[in-house]
């Protein structure tokens, strides 16, 4: 009989849950994790990681098609959708195995099944796990952390059917490349798929309800990215709404309202990427003091819910809905439970966001508009990729680095980037924000030459009228 009494039970093994469990184990807690499907959750099996594998294939394909620009020749450049998907699944599989190993290494008990809060007994939280095999296991723990994540939001009347209308799930494992595609929603998920399918030749139309693509990003970055996407042949409709989807035998006709007029667009497939809803159902939250606001659990800066000894982290809670936010939030939560000294509540302004479309987009902190709205007088710096030697040598001269400073204090309020490899660069500015550096330290920092990172320096210099290379 397996042990059923723990210090901590983590429900959900995505990047929030499994990292939380590891940290708990490091802190000496006897820890269990409950997963209903696959260790590693959506991120690792059906999200972040497999899409990055797909986008890598797209990038290599793109380069091969443009081999000529580098003085190389490649003929008969083609792709096999099945193999591209196969590689992506293999990558996910490898990481899933990695999480299994990590759980074992940290002596974390893994229970496969659906977990449900089941009251309190003798001061301990009870959790009932309905196993896949139909067996039920009763667990107890001092504390429970819910990390059940989220799933794609469905628009009423336009629910995904897995054949013609896809969510990220089907979009990740296409049997063949569709000739034409409509993407509803231009957030990170929508744009990444739009970019992937466009690179492999599909006619892609993106419909966005807001007035710009990637609406959470800085307006300059949105505008820059839109131009780049349109240059690649993507069709982008903003301030537009899909009113109806009519399914044919192997096609879908979308009725799109834009500028007061409606038009019909017929495509082979539709990807719905209109946001997410939290997985708050069947967790036994009813009758507890856990508060749910629009499908997400309400928590404080430590992940505490209204219910004693029940915590929540990650996509199940408030935005930003990002894997690294979930992991960090989980670590903060579990350290707080363990009474680790010097734990700080979560600071959302220091969480970077990355979108792996082509060109890539990455940002941290406040946009220029948000900074002004918050009452800051700002100094703004901009530096284009065309002014950077390394970018030109890479053949990636398309991009922009924008920085926003508080004019009074020199605080780096936000940094926004679009272009090659910016998702790897943003960390520099994230550290700057976490350490509360001002423009002075960023200017004093030596950036290696020749690198793309020099643009991060130049953008700061530009904000203070000292830019060197434009």
């Amino acid at each position: 009989m397996a042990d059923t009494s723990f210090d901590l039970i983590v429900v959900g093994s995505g990047p929030g849950g499994y990292v939380t469990a590891i940290r708990a184990s490091q802190l000496g807690m006897k820890t269990a994790i409950v997963e209903r499907e696959l260790l590693g959750g959506i991120c690792l099996n059906w999200g972040c990681i497999p899409t990055k594998a797909l986008l890598r294939s797209a990038e290599v394909y793109h380069l091969m098609k443009h081999a000529d620009a580098y003085g190389l020749s490649a003929s008969g450049v083609a792709f096999d959708a099945r193999k591209v998907v196969e590689r992506s699944r293999k990558v996910a599989g490898q990481l899933n195995g990695g999480v299994t190993f990590l759980m074992k290494k940290h002596k974390i008990a893994v229970f496969m099944g659906n977990a449900k809060l089941d009251g309190v007994a003798g001061g301990l939280r009870k959790v009932a796990v309905a196993g896949k095999d139909g067996k039920s296991t009763a667990l107890t723990a001092k504390n429970v952390i819910l990390a059940t994540g989220a799933r794609a939001r469905e628009l009423p009347g336009m629910e995904a059917d897995g054949k013609l209308i896809w969510t990220y799930r089907e979009a990740m494992v296409p049997l063949a490349m569709p000739k034409s595609l409509l993407v509803i929603g231009s957030g990170a998920i929508g744009i990444e798929f739009a970019s992937f399918y466009r690179t492999f030749g599909a006619e892609v139309t993106v419909v966005e309800v807001m007035d710009r693509v990637l609406p959470v990003e800085d307006a300059d970055i949105s505008a820059f990215a839109r131009k780049a996407f349109e240059k690649q042949g993507m069709k982008i409709m903003t301030s537009a709404t899909v009113k109806a989807l009519t399914k044919g035998a192997n096609s879908v006709t979308a009725t799109v309202e834009i500028g007061g007029k409606t038009q019909d667009i017929t495509v082979e497939r539709v990807i719905s990427a209109v946001g997410i809803v939290g997985n708050v159902e069947n967790l036994g939250l009813e009758g507890t003091k856990v508060k749910v606001d629009r499908t997400h659990v309400v928590v404080d800066g430590w992940g505490a819910t209204g219910e004693p000894n029940v915590y929540a982290i990650g996509d199940l809670t408030g935005p930003p809905w990002l894997a690294h936010k979930a992991s960090h939030e989980g670590v903060t939560c579990v350290e707080k439970i363990a009474g680790v000294k010097g734990v700080h509540p979560f600071e959302t302004k220091n969480i970077p966001g990355c979108t792996y479309c082509h060109p890539q987009v990455a940002s941290v902190g406040l946009t220029e508009a948000a900074a002004k709205a918050a009452g800051h007088q700002v100094k703004v710096g901009r530096f284009p990729f065309i002014g950077n030697g390394k970018a030109i040598a890479l053949g990636e001269a398309e991009g922009l680095v924008k920085t926003v400073f508080d004019a009074k204090t020199g605080e780096l309020l936000g940094a926004h980037m679009v272009g090659a490899e910016v998702t790897e660069l943003i960390q520099g500015y994230t550290i700057a924000r976490t350490l509360e550096t001002t423009e002075a330290e960023l200017m004093h920092t030596v950036f290696p030459h020749p690198t793309l990172s020099e643009m991060m320096h130049e953008s700061v210099l530009d904000a203070y009228g000292r830019v060197l290379h434009i």
Binding site: G339, K341, G342, H344, K408, T409, G410, E411, L435, E436, T437, T438, A440, E441
Partner: protein, 427 residues
């Protein structure tokens, strides 16, 4: 794995403390919850318990050490048979984890014109203050002294929020430029008038003395005080006390003192005037929802103000018992944190020393303090006749930001009704 036992912060204001006594020695096995040492903090002596189990591998800070910074390593806990890692056995004072003690690390903005004479002031090695670049700049722009700001960042690093908090609270103002503050002074903001000569003895400050100095200076300099003095006739109160104590004697209950009755009367008056039971803050007036009265108690180590909680709800007997217990433990330095932190009003009674009347300094962030003089027979005039009455003078010191003159006077009137007709305070 070796675990560093750190100097705990036992109160929010604590930056350093004295390691008064070790209850364990190197090699002793401890379990979680075992008292390992005693620390003298701002206001009391506290026992520190082990949170992990293990063997005391090394005592880093010997007993009797003063000025041990919060978060400094005071001892190292190892597992049975494990050696103490060499790297961890560093002395406590200059660890980066430690917050620089305000006095020690504070470079007064104007350097001392003369070197300290015969001072034994300790300086932090290197004197480095850990602060984020943004925090440093914000402090410089607002004219705040980083040395007086406590950091909430990793290892006590001062971050933006700490400076903003300090700016809001109006603390961390640097020493006035006119006052030459020799680096040796414990209080950089206090001008030094004494020229130490041959015929003086230097007695190092206790932490409690430093706190009293800092808080009283801050109060007198930043709180706009005004004073109201009244005479209360206490013949009825003394009669009532006699009757109550006669009963108490029979039932072996606690005897009630005049001061206990003043506590009760003040509590009732505060309940009637919640706007006196309040504190000033820049954003809003903060009214306390409970009537908690701090009572000044003189101890060998200095002034301590234990608190009688919910004094308006307690009977006189209960107040007397509470007060007796609090005062006794205050004298032993055994008060718990929550027993002397907080309170909405203070009573200071020097009547037992024959003091007729005095003006007290407000105990921030409270808005008022009542100074109680001796009850004595005085001649008063009643209907054109001189008569002898027991009279007690009381002076209320008031924070004008919170309470205006008329309100203060009304409060004293209400207090009169309770003191002069003691039966009403029992209602």
């Amino acid at each position: 794995m070796a675990i560093n036992i750190l100097m705990p912060a036992l109160s929010p204001t604590m930056t350093e403390g004295k390691l008064a006594k070790w209850y364990v020695k190197e090699g002793d096995t401890v379990s979680a919850g075992k008292v390992i040492c005693e620390i003298e903090t701002d206001k009391a002596t506290m026992e520190v318990e082990a949170v992990d189990e293990g063997v005391i591998g090394k005592i880093v800070v010997p007993e009797g050490t003063e000025g041990v910074a919060v978060n400094a390593v005071i001892a190292i806990l190892v597992e049975e048979g494990e050696a103490v890692p060499a790297g961890d056995a560093k002395p406590a004072a200059p660890t980066p984890a430690a917050k620089p003690a305000p006095a020690a690390a504070a470079p007064a903005p104007t350097p001392a014109p003369t070197p300290p004479v015969g001072g034994s002031a300790k300086t932090h090695e290197g004197g480095r203050i850990f602060a984020s670049p943004l925090a440093k700049r914000l402090a410089a722009e607002s004219g705040l002294d980083l040395a007086k700001i406590s950091g909430s960042g990793p290892h006590g690093r001062i971050v933006k929020e700490d400076v903003e908090q300090a700016a809001k609270a109006g603390t961390a103002k640097p020493a006035p430029k006119a006052a030459p503050a020799p680096a040796a002074t414990k209080e950089p903001s206090a001008p030094q008038f004494v020229v130490p000569g041959e015929a003086t003895t230097r007695i190092p400050h206790t932490s409690i003395r430093k706190v009293i100095a800092r808080r009283m200076t801050e109060s007198k300099q930043t709180v706009p005080h005004f004073y109201l003095t009244v005479d209360y006739e206490i013949d009825a109160l003394l009669e009532a006390r006699k009757a109550i104590n006669a009963l108490a004697e029979k039932s072996k209950g606690s005897k009630v003192s005049v001061n206990d009755m003043v506590i009760k009367a003040c509590a009732m008056a505060l309940r009637d005037h919640p706007d006196v039971n309040a504190s000033w803050s820049e954003e809003a007036m903060i009214q306390y929802n409970t009537v908690d009265i701090a009572v000044a108690v003189a101890t060998d180590r200095g002034l301590v103000t234990p608190i009688v909680r919910n004094a308006d709800l307690k009977g006189l007997g209960r107040i007397a018992t509470d007060m007796k217990d609090l005062a006794a433990r205050a004298r032993e330095g055994k008060l718990k944190l929550d027993e002397f932190q907080g309170g909405g009003f203070t009573i200071s009674n020097l009547g037992m020393y024959g003091i007729k009347d005095f003006l007290a300094i407000i105990n921030p962030p409270q808005a008022a303090i009542l100074a109680v003089g001796a009850g004595e027979e005085r001649v008063v005039v009643r209907n054109g006749q001189m008569v002898i009455r027991n009279v007690m003078s009381c002076s209320l010191s008031v924070d004008h930001r919170v309470v205006d003159g008329a309100l203060g006077a009304t409060f004293l009137q209400t207090l009169r009704s309770y003191i002069e007709q003691p039966a009403t305070m029992l209602l």
